[in-house]
């Protein structure tokens, strides 16, 4: 399994080396970083490495979806509302230009100051947010626009009204909507990929993950509270279920690790955006020329293979 991941990283290394887009920027640094990643694949990330990812993924200065939207897309135009009940601010949707083509963006949105955090509900969407996403996805499909999603949520909101409005069903239907799309789809895990609320907008042809992002079935604190009966054991839990990018790549859950500048994306949003942008463009290039039916078939086949089985 590790060798397959290694091959993909190697491919990415060689592609990045050949990329004109990044010439004169921080390319050499990024090449080094990818080489580091490759080296790291051979040695298991330690519990400390994993916990550092958890902290960086939640870092308050880490770029959020709208930070990237303004830097990656030209002429970004935000779309509001689910056309049924509300406009959930924990998810943003919109149209923008990428490399001369119109694309649709869907992403979780967190806030930085107290007021904005509250308005964005800490990036935890209600069912209305997933219905807003589905509206944007349908729009993309109708007009043949590629879909780019950005995943950054602790999880879908666990509240009484959220349940009454059908949280579980909304998450299920959002995944189904993505499984149906004819257009090219790229999902980027840019921070916290928290459980069902994350995967709801991450069923894509290509799934990218920034090197310090996390993607997990439950939060480290939640897992610790249940299995260790103590939320304080979050580090142990994270070390046990390994939400870091390297493991996600090894397990075939993501396709590419996107390097971050310096010690992490929080240090330099512009550089982080440029690296993410080139990874998105590269991923779209790979899938853009495919026959739509074939692309959808392969997308489903990819998820069909996920899991680890033994036989009695």
């Amino acid at each position: 399994m590790a060798s397959e991941a290694e091959i993909r990283l190697r491919e990415r290394l060689s592609k990045l080396g050949a990329m004109k887009l990044l010439r004169g920027t921080k390319l050499s640094g990024e090449l080094d970083r990818l080489q580091d990643q490759l080296d790291k694949l051979k040695e298991e990330p330690s519990a400390e490495d994993i916990w550092r990812s958890v902290e960086l993924a939640r870092h308050q200065d880490r770029p959020y979806t709208l930070d990237y939207a303004g830097r990656i897309f030209e002429d970004f135009f935000e779309l509001h509302g689910d056309r049924g009940r509300a406009d959930d601010h924990a998810i943003v949707t919109g149209l923008g230009m990428l490399d001369g083509h119109t694309v649709v963006l869907v992403g979780h949105q967190k806030g930085r100051d107290l007021k904005e955090r509250t308005r964005r509900n800490f990036g935890m969407a209600y069912p209305e947010g997933y219905r807003k996403s589905m509206r944007a996805m349908t729009l993309a499909d109708r007009h043949g626009f590629p879909l780019v999603t950005m995943v950054d949520t602790p999880g879908a909101y666990p509240g009484v009204a959220a349940e009454q409005h059908g949280q579980g069903g909304a998450i299920a239907r959002s995944q189904a909507a993505m499984a149906r799309l004819s257009v090219p789809t790229v999902a980027c895990v840019i921070g916290e990929g928290g459980s069902g609320g994350a995967v709801a907008i991450a069923v894509a042809d290509r799934v990218l993950m920034q090197e310090n992002a996390i993607y997990s079935v439950i939060s480290p604190e939640g897992c610790a509270a249940i299995l260790w009966r103590d939320a304080g054991e979050a580090r142990k839990a994270a070390a046990a279920f390994r939400p870091d990018a390297t493991h996600c790549l090894e397990l075939g859950v993501i396709d590419t690790i996107v390097p971050e500048p310096g010690l992490g994306a929080h240090e330099d949003a512009d550089a982080a955006a440029q690296l993410l942008r080139s990874a998105i463009v590269e991923a779209l290039d790979e899938i853009d020329s495919m026959d739509p039916d074939e692309r959808r078939r392969e997308r489903r086949a990819k998820y069909r293979r996920m899991g680890a089985l033994a036989f009695a």
């Binding site: 069903g169 439950i218 249940i226 680890a308």
Partner: protein, 283 residues
């Protein structure tokens, strides 16, 4: 949190942890009215309390017996087991929890799949068992569900799923989460192949199972009093400090909010599925 029926209080979040014996009465004592039954009495009443109508949990094998025409069930993919890719170890190794669950339930994992007939209508079945690690969904549950979809499509018959689950299985990490899109994609293929999914939700169906296949039935039914919520009541209460309504997340509340087609008492489940299978069946 104690509702009228006392049904919300299930250890959903514990996912297979042995529940503390305190405050939990004998499994054959009705939490609704306190009546106590012998096991054969409960079996005869489909594990529904004759006094107050409380629905006791039903294991996968007994559920199949309750639902299908005698001698028609043929199990498929019985040999599948979980591979512990993470080498997961919390207070105990995952492999030990698996072995213990297999011994106590006699099942390979939390879902039993196969073909059967209900009121002479052929179908495929995917039946969950909460007793196996809280009915949590890992690779085996996902794979068996997907194979049941494929088998139903091939045979051109509907798939009937009966869910009972605390959600995704933490011990399988991110691969457990990936069973959500895996089952969702399989339902897309099932639908495109012309077959239907009839989804029955039983107490409790929460987390990742509610957020994937259980919610995507062409028809969604639930048993009375079944908890069906994405987040369990304890998580909601702790995170939001909201006051939970007495019927929080219960089938009755979900029906009122439009997330269910019908609430079907257990004695009516077999004839109801028979009717639906006839309506969806092709000549």
């Amino acid at each position: 949190m104690s509702s009228g029926q006392g049904r919300v209080d299930v250890e959903v979040e514990s996912k297979g942890e042995s529940t503390p014996a305190k405050e939990k009465g004998h499994p054959n004592t009705c939490p609704g009215c306190g009546s106590h039954y012998r096991d054969d009495e409960l079996e005869r009443s489909l594990r529904v309390c004759p006094q107050c109508g409380h629905h006791f949990p039903v294991g996968a094998r007994e559920r199949i017996e309750q639902l299908v025409d005698p001698e028609t069930f043929v199990e498929e993919d019985e040999e599948l087991r979980s591979a512990d890719v993470l080498g997961f170890f919390d207070l105990r190794p995952y492999t030990e929890r698996l072995a213990e669950a297999e011994v106590s339930t006699g099942l390979g994992d939390a879902l039993v799949a196969g073909s059967a007939a209900i009121e002479d209508q052929p179908c495929r079945l995917a039946i969950m068992d909460f007793a196996f690690m809280g009915g949590s969904m890992g690779s085996v549950v996902g794979e068996k569900f997907v194979r049941a979809c494929e088998s139903a499509t091939e045979a051109g018959v509907p798939l009937v799923s009966v869910s009972a689950s605390g959600g995704a299985r933490m011990q399988e990490g991110i691969l457990a989460l990936m069973q959500l899109p895996k089952t969702v994609c399989a339902i897309e293929e099932l639908h495109e192949g012309g077959s239907a999914l009839l989804s029955v939700l039983t107490h409790p169906t929460t987390g990742g199972v509610l957020a994937s296949f259980a919610s995507l039935g062409d028809v969604v039914l639930a048993e009375p009093g079944a908890l069906m919520s994405f987040a369990g009541p304890r998580v909601v209460a702790q995170t939001t400090r909201e006051k939970l309504p007495d019927d929080f997340g219960l089938a009755e509340s979900n029906y009122r909010f439009g997330h269910l087609d019908a609430i079907v008492p257990r004695s009516e489940l077999r004839p109801t599925l028979g009717r639906l299978l006839r309506l969806f069946g092709r000549a």
